[in-house]
Symmetry: C2
Subunit: 207 residues, 2 copies
């Protein structure tokens, strides 16, 4: 449910550079082999600046999650679609593409590595709760628009949005924690089938 390229161009302010360095180091090394030293290796300025800003690896990584959520909020396309069904299909293509490139799997792997900390660390859980709520609300808005447009049935937008975003999370998390690309095409077909039979009105469905 996330943009695969959180750092499209090199940032100039120190904090954004620390975030980018943390992201690159996490993507390369995973959580358990990550050290502030390794984050420093990706950072173009003096390592001491990192220690001035953050107390350690976990404080940095929780800040990275917060940073990624802010990026998400500003990058989400909201008004490019006249049709809610097209909007939802574009969201699926974006979050569950037919094949994930290495940039995308790298991003999902980095986020999944941080997710592993969440069951035993409140600060991580809080960030993941915010990220989930953001995705759910975003998709609920799309579904609500579709109902207003007469494209979608009169479903409970929150309930369908929770289900869709959870299923999409499941696909992405399983893809990157099993290394198996094969189920993705199957899961895309069933995601589109769910949208067709649960959301689309009979008129839109060609029935």
């Amino acid at each position: 449910m996330d943009a695969p390229k959180p750092f499209q161009c090199s940032p100039e302010d120190t904090n954004s550079q620390i975030m980018q360095a943390s992201y690159e180091a996490l993507r390369k090394h995973g959580y358990s082999d990550l050290t502030v030293q390794r984050i420093g290796d990706e950072f173009p300025k003096s390592k001491s600046l990192i220690y001035q800003h953050y107390d350690g690896k976990d404080e940095l990584l929780v800040a990275l999650l917060e940073f990624l959520l802010e990026q998400l909020k500003t990058n989400v396309p909201t008004d490019d679609f006249d049709d809610a069904h097209e909007h939802l299909k574009a969201l699926i293509e974006h979050t569950v593409p037919a094949s994930f490139d290495s940039e995308h799997t790298g991003f999902m792997g980095a986020v999944a590595a941080l997710r592993g900390q969440a069951p035993h660390d409140d600060a991580y859980r809080e960030q993941f709760a915010k990220i989930s709520a953001f995705h759910r609300e975003h998709v609920a808005d799309i579904i609500r628009n579709g109902i207003d447009q007469g494209v979608f049935r009169d479903v409970d937008p929150e309930q369908s949005a929770a289900f869709l975003t959870t299923a999409i999370h499941g696909v992405r998390n399983q893809r990157v924690t099993t290394g198996n690309d094969e189920p993705v095409e199957t899961l895309r077909r069933e995601l589109f089938a769910y949208i067709r039979i649960r959301l689309l009105t009979d008129t839109e469905n060609g029935q």
Copy 2:
């Protein structure tokens, strides 16, 4: 998609005791604060036995995943249900209950903590791929039975099973990495709605 109590009674053989100690230590401390020393604290015999069997924390934890998968295989109820729809509903009640008790969240948290290692470690990925395949095949068998019984529509059993197990994984992983119980009831309603509109034949659906 897992039984919440992998150790129903205290095992007697040394390897099963090491597995139980690893599980208890992982559940308490999470991945990053886990040490072989802490696993030893949960182990009733001499700690040196752990070092005789395993080279370190990751080798132990990958073995734990393999052990849990074997438990799953022997614990799955296969022939207690005459009706595939009842079987599938029981599976949802078991994997996504209306409320998770602390034993269940502890189990899911331990597994989610190990999942965080998978994106950057082949050995973990291999175990999670096996676990996912096992769940998919198990649910595909139930759906296949339902089609034979005339209870379910003539869907692609593998495709629906992949989707259901992935959605269930999504619910469980989000529950334990966001700490938010609230979406669970909503997600259960939509899981049952999916089964009703996608799988159940019109006769079974009362239409």
